[in-house]
């Protein structure tokens, strides 16, 4: 990752104060603006979630869209296999609608656009790898791949991820979501010590 616009990995912890945003930085590259106060960001996120409840009668999600895309890809490559497998076929409904014309697929497309928009407005677009100083880029990317795979298996078992279960179900006081949320934090904290080289 030796692209010319690489920045030293931001400390991430706390972020530079607003006064630092105008002082120094890499030549030719505006310094990233500090992140939003977490409580106000949470309020904004909560209002988006509330809007989704009121308009659609459902919450936010993310992992489901990846399942749909995978199922469609599998159907295109190996239609017989996708048809026999209950996991893939569950994404096709009764076949009357194109499975990609799915609420979550469009929501996740918006998710990318919203992230890009916010990142661009705050000068946070960087081709870089987020990692601690004590791990190689290759090592970090390997862990990212492994983590992504584990996360998705967990999300499929739990019928949702941090968006669809923890956030949405949390606000709806859903029993399974609260149990799930405690397990997510529990699992992450339990493993954190072993992963410290990657982050600290």
């Amino acid at each position: 990752m030796n692209s010319p616009i690489e920045t030293p990995p931001s400390t991430g912890i706390g972020g530079p104060g607003p006064e630092l945003a105008v002082a120094g930085g890499q030549p030719g590259l505006p310094l990233a603006k500090p992140h939003m106060n977490p409580y106000w960001a949470g309020l904004g996120l909560g209002l988006v979630l509330l809007a989704s409840f009121v308009i659609m009668g459902r919450g936010l999600g993310a992992s489901g869209a990846f399942g749909t895309v995978t199922a469609v890809a599998m159907h295109a490559v190996a239609p017989a296999h996708a048809g026999q497998n209950v996991f893939y076929s569950s994404y096709f409904g009764d076949g009357s609608v194109n499975p990609l014309k799915d609420w979550l697929v469009f929501e996740v497309l918006g998710l990318f656009v919203g992230g890009l928009l916010s990142g661009a407005l705050a000068n946070r677009l960087r081709v870089t790898v987020e990692k601690g100083p004590r791990i190689s880029t290759r090592g970090r990317l390997g862990f990212a791949f492994l983590g992504g795979a584990m996360m998705m298996i967990g999300a499929k078992l739990a019928l949702g991820c941090t968006s669809g279960q923890a956030l949405t179900g949390g606000a709806l006081l859903n029993v399974g979501s609260w149990v799930f949320m405690m397990c997510v934090f529990g699992g992450a904290y339990a493993l954190a010590w072993f992963m410290r080289k990657q982050w600290l």
Binding site: G46, K131, M151, K156, G170, C183, Y189, L191
Partner: protein, 425 residues
């Protein structure tokens, strides 16, 4: 007002995709604003260095929970129509732990990885590739573990229902818990992260009522009101447009004849749902193809989208009429009664009477068609009354119906029909 708007049919599926895109933009915007495109910042949560994840998540949860509570309480939103992911306890515990492991190993969750990738983070892009790999692996294994993945089902259940306490009490408890967690988090950040309470934190060293403190007070205040404000679920009282209902009933626009329904079923139309309100035993003995059995008292459950066409079928005209009125007052738009009920279905469709010998050819042709229809549904025509062999005095034997298939494992306890596509995350 009728919310959730989509569930009341204020817009269709195509429009809902535009809504999805716009809501997704808001979702991604605030995730990125919060700094969640950065794995290092997310992972700092698990070393008590920066507890943003907790702060953002619980502020969002509390905001949406309190907002939804009050919007439902004042009658703007029908809370029972907001989709609740069913609970399967053991798979969700295992899935949650796996997700937690994946979070600290990979640094993201599915939503934040999208934001990370969108802002150019290579680790975010690789994480997404990992998610696809995980899905492919899971897809191959799933058929073997599908039973286990649906074990320990508890249905669509909320904490207030589980513990039998008031919804408002739990809202208040969650608000207090979140505010306590925020203070503890800021304390931990100072203790473990060496971070002094900064501007915009709750523990900021000032006596002023800063905006963030005002937000905390407002949420606590709303939570306190919720404690006494009662149930957010729409009560049993409904208002109906009597003029509209009387016009429909007067014009018999609320009825479907047995012959018409038979034609629809033969044509394979699937734009309606047959709801059989008879006792379960009668339903088990015989019911119309694709009918679902819902008792009159259970009709208030979330039966279907409010725009779906529902045909009520009973052996009592009185009961059917009661169900029609109940569903109409619940906001279902297109409710019809099978005219004459099961009796008419048997007489007109299953066991049509042959015309007397010597009847006009038109009747004979018509009967041939009805005979075919009867056979389609497993019935048989009765001989004409004027013929030598009089019709059997007892009711002809009803066609045997296949025993109802066992309910799919992911169905909740409520009589909710299977959805066309899953709605969860």
């Amino acid at each position: 007002m009728m919310a959730p708007f989509y569930k009341f049919g204020l817009f269709g599926d195509e429009t809902s995709l535009i809504v999805a895109f716009v809501i997704g933009i808001g979702f991604g915007f605030f995730l990125e604003r919060a700094g969640f495109g950065n794995a290092r910042l997310l992972a700092a949560q698990f070393y008590f260095r920066d507890l943003r994840v907790l702060k953002v998540m619980f502020t969002a949860i509390v905001t949406a929970m309190v907002g939804l509570y009050f919007l439902s309480r004042v009658g703007l939103v029908d809370l029972s129509l907001v989709y609740l992911v069913p609970t399967f306890l053991v798979p969700q515990i295992v899935g949650g732990l796996l997700l937690g492991f994946g979070f600290v190993i990979g640094g993201y969750c599915p939503g934040t990885s999208c934001v990370s990738a969108a802002t150019g983070r290579v680790d975010g892009i690789v994480y997404i590739l990992g998610m696809f790999a995980g899905l492919l692996g899971f897809g191959e294994v799933y058929p073997h573990i599908a039973g286990w993945a649906h074990s320990t089902p508890m249905g669509q259940i909320t904490l207030p229902k589980l513990f039998d306490i008031s919804y408002g009490l739990l809202v208040f408890a969650v608000v207090l818990m979140a505010l306590g967690a925020f203070v503890a988090a800021e304390w931990a950040e100072r203790r473990f992260g060496g971070k002094l309470p900064e501007a915009g934190s709750l523990l900021e060293p000032t006596r002023r009522l800063t905006p963030v403190r005002r937000l905390a007070v407002a949420l606590a205040g709303l939570g306190f009101i919720a404690l006494f404000a009662g149930s957010p679920y729409r009560d049993a009282k409904a208002t109906v447009d009597t003029k509209q209902l009387s016009l429909e009933a007067g014009a018999a626009a609320d009825q479907v004849s047995a012959e018409q329904l038979a034609d629809w079923l033969i044509a394979g139309r699937n734009d309606f749902r047959i709801v059989d309100i008879r006792a379960a035993a009668d339903f088990a003995a015989y019911h119309l193809p694709d009918a679902i059995n819902v008792q009159l008292a259970a009709l208030t459950a979330d039966l279907a989208a409010r725009t779906e066409r529902i045909i009520i079928c009973s052996d009592s005209d009185l009961r059917a009429a009661q169900a029609w009125f109940l569903l109409r007052s619940l906001g279902y738009r297109a409710v019809y009664v099978l005219s004459g009920g099961l009796t008419a279905w048997k007489n007109a469709v299953l066991f049509p009477q042959a015309p007397p010998i010597g009847a006009p050819a038109r009747d004979q042709i018509d009967f041939a068609r009805r005979e075919a229809v009867a056979k389609y549904f497993g019935g048989a025509p009765r001989a004409s009354s004027g013929s030598a062999s009089p019709a059997a005095p007892v009711a002809p034997e009803l066609p045997k119906v296949a025993p109802p298939p066992p309910p799919p494992p992911d169905e909740g306890t409520a009589p909710v029909p299977a959805r066309k596509k899953r709605e969860g995350c």
